[in-house]
């Protein structure tokens, strides 16, 4: 990319909006007062606590040493949060490493494991990615905030839109490591074989012996136990992806542009959003959505939301086509 390219892109995109000067001034003054209060509170708090700090530090150190001696493999810091737990979902945690039912909102720490039963499915939130979802009969272990170990079953990772500096989750399998490059993908263990399906973006597969393969959207890598990799075409939206719909984390659509909702629905359904005309595209950016889609699958949400607008959508080969609204989309 040269200077001309940058200039062309920036000029075509236009200047970013500026806040009115009076708004900036009012917010600055309000925040300055708030900031001074915070600084004063912190100084007061620091003085109050300094006298207790020495005794407390001795107590904490002693407690830490005792815990370390008692449980050398105890979990470290929090790495994920339970977002959805359907039917049988268990967490192995605590000093005794017992399996216990998972609870939505539960913090999951390094060293803990998460498991779904025959009818269970789960979604977890991790820093830097949109979500990770577990199919039934799946077990994962949390190593750090950016490394999950899959021990059995299937895991779907939606990294969302990433930018430089965002953390990048890796998934460790028995025979290698999967690292995404801005993507949605599924890792499924089948005995000692692995199926790696890429729905969006790219993934990198690095085997334990150091061999590297990259998979593109619409491809699947079939990785045998001996390291042999077979590359195949894979649908990005057929019924084999349906399991992730039940564990789609709810999004807040209140006050958001319709275009943003459509973009979300497109990613969740593995389909490109296509507008019949540039005017339709522009219009969806101005339509504001109100309400909630909690409890709906992405395809149900698409029907519910578009039903109240003057635009319509239809699911066509790999696409959600958005046009005018005389006919409504059929739910899957």
């Amino acid at each position: 990319m040269n200077d001309d390219d940058i200039a062309r892109v920036l000029k075509a995109a236009g200047m970013r909006e500026r806040a009115p000067a009076d708004v900036a001034r009012a917010v600055r003054e309000h925040l300055r007062r708030e900031w001074r209060e915070i600084v004063a509170e912190r100084r007061g708090s620091r003085r109050r606590w300094s006298g207790l700090a020495f005794a407390a530090s001795i107590l904490v150190a002693a407690l830490g040493l005792w815990l370390a001696a008692l449980q050398p493999g105890a979990p470290a810091g929090p790495v994920a949060t339970m977002a959805i737990a359907l039917d049988e979902v268990r967490v192995k945690s605590g000093w005794l490493q017992r399996w216990q039912p998972a609870v939505v909102g539960q913090i999951l720490a390094a060293g803990e494991s998460l498991e779904t039963g025959t009818h269970g499915r789960a979604a977890i939130a991790l820093p830097g990615i949109a979500s990770a979802r577990l199919d039934h009969d799946t077990r994962v272990r949390f190593t750090t905030a950016d490394l999950l170990v899959i021990e059995r079953g299937a895991l779907y990772v939606d990294a969302g839109i990433e930018l430089p500096g965002d953390s990048r989750l890796a998934v460790e399998t028995p025979s290698g490591l999967v690292r995404h490059i801005g993507t949605q993908y599924e890792v499924r263990l089948d005995g000692s074989n692995i199926r790696l399906r890429v729905r969006e973006g790219r993934v990198e597969w690095r085997s334990n012996s150091g061999a590297v393969e990259r998979g593109q959207a619409g491809e699947q890598l079939m990785i045998a136990a001996d390291g042999a990799v077979r590359r195949e075409q894979a649908s990005r939206y057929d019924a084999s992806w349906d399991w992730i719909a039940s564990t789609t984390p709810a999004i807040d659509i209140e006050g958001r542009p319709l275009a943003e909702f459509l973009s979300w629905a497109g990613r969740e359904l593995g389909r490109e959003v296509m507008f019949a005309t540039p005017e339709v595209a522009e219009e969806t950016a101005t339509i504001v959505v109100h309400g909630s889609i909690d409890g709906l699958t992405p395809s149900q949400a698409l029907v519910a939301v578009l039903a109240t607008t003057s635009v319509r959508g239809s699911l066509e080969e790999g696409r959600i086509v958005v046009a005018d609204g005389r006919e409504k989309i059929d739910s899957n």
Binding site: M1, D3, D5, I6, A7, R8, V9, L10, K11, A12, A13, M15, R16, E17, A19, V23, A24, A26, V27, H30, L31, E34, W35, V39, P127, G128, I161, E162, L163, P164, G165, S167, G201, I253, E254, G255, R256, L258, A259, E272, V273, F275, A276, P278, E279, V280, A281, E283, A285, I287, V288, V289, H290, G291, V305, S310, V311, V321, A323, D324
Partner: protein, 203 residues
């Protein structure tokens, strides 16, 4: 320690310049993040941005540095915006969309027309432009400002250095890093190079 964490530490220590730097670095970006989510309502945006930045300052001790500080603020802002809208529209419990009844053209012609660039086809020119502006806001530090000053306002490197309170060589280096970060971000977000994006935008 990251630059932004140093800034937070200085600000919480009572450093007035650090407060100014914090405000200058984040106010405009959070404002732009909030405005479209509040349907362009500037008064609502002012309230939400003010609440967001105040909450961010109060909770800054919770910021773990796993993501960029701005990303963390966007999460707060999103919640504040939703709360703001809910507090004014408690009666709305179901999906109800407000729209302008657009006068749309025939779908079929456009679907059959050959497309040179899928990105614009998929998102629309305005949306791609908006995403480019969002990318600028998500770049670290003052990169977005520096790029706009250089390539849109035609400022010299010396002038950019003066506006940022840094020397010419430092400004030159910052611009180089900004270009790299911008290029990488565009490729990650769009999966295309700037030349293709510019072509798609008709530039």
């Amino acid at each position: 320690m990251k630059e932004e964490q140093l800034l937070i530490r200085r600000m919480l220590g009572g450093d007035e310049q650090a407060f100014e730097a914090f405000f200058n670095a984040y106010f405009a970006r959070v404002y732009r993040f909030a405005l479209p989510r509040l349907n362009g309502d500037t008064e609502a945006t002012r309230e939400v941005v003010q609440a967001t930045l105040a909450k961010a300052m109060r909770r800054i001790g919770d910021f773990r540095g796993d993501s960029a500080l701005f990303t963390w603020m966007c999460q707060i802002c999103r919640r504040e915006a939703v709360d703001h809208i809910r507090s004014r529209r408690r009666h709305l419990k179901h999906v109800v969309l407000i729209d302008d009844r657009p006068d749309l053209r025939s779908a079929i012609d456009a679907l059959e027309a050959p497309e040179e660039y899928d990105l614009v086809k998929a998102y629309g020119r305005e949306e791609v432009g908006r995403l480019v502006r969002v990318v600028l806001d998500r770049l670290p530090s003052n990169y977005g400002d520096a790029l706009e000053w250089k390539y849109m306002e035609g400022s010299s490197v010396e002038e950019i250095g003066e506006r940022l309170g840094i020397g010419t060589i430092a400004a030159q280096s910052l611009l180089a890093r900004a270009r790299t970060a911008f290029r990488e971000a565009l490729e990650q977000v769009f999966g295309a190079e700037a030349a293709d994006i510019a072509a798609g935008l008709g530039a």
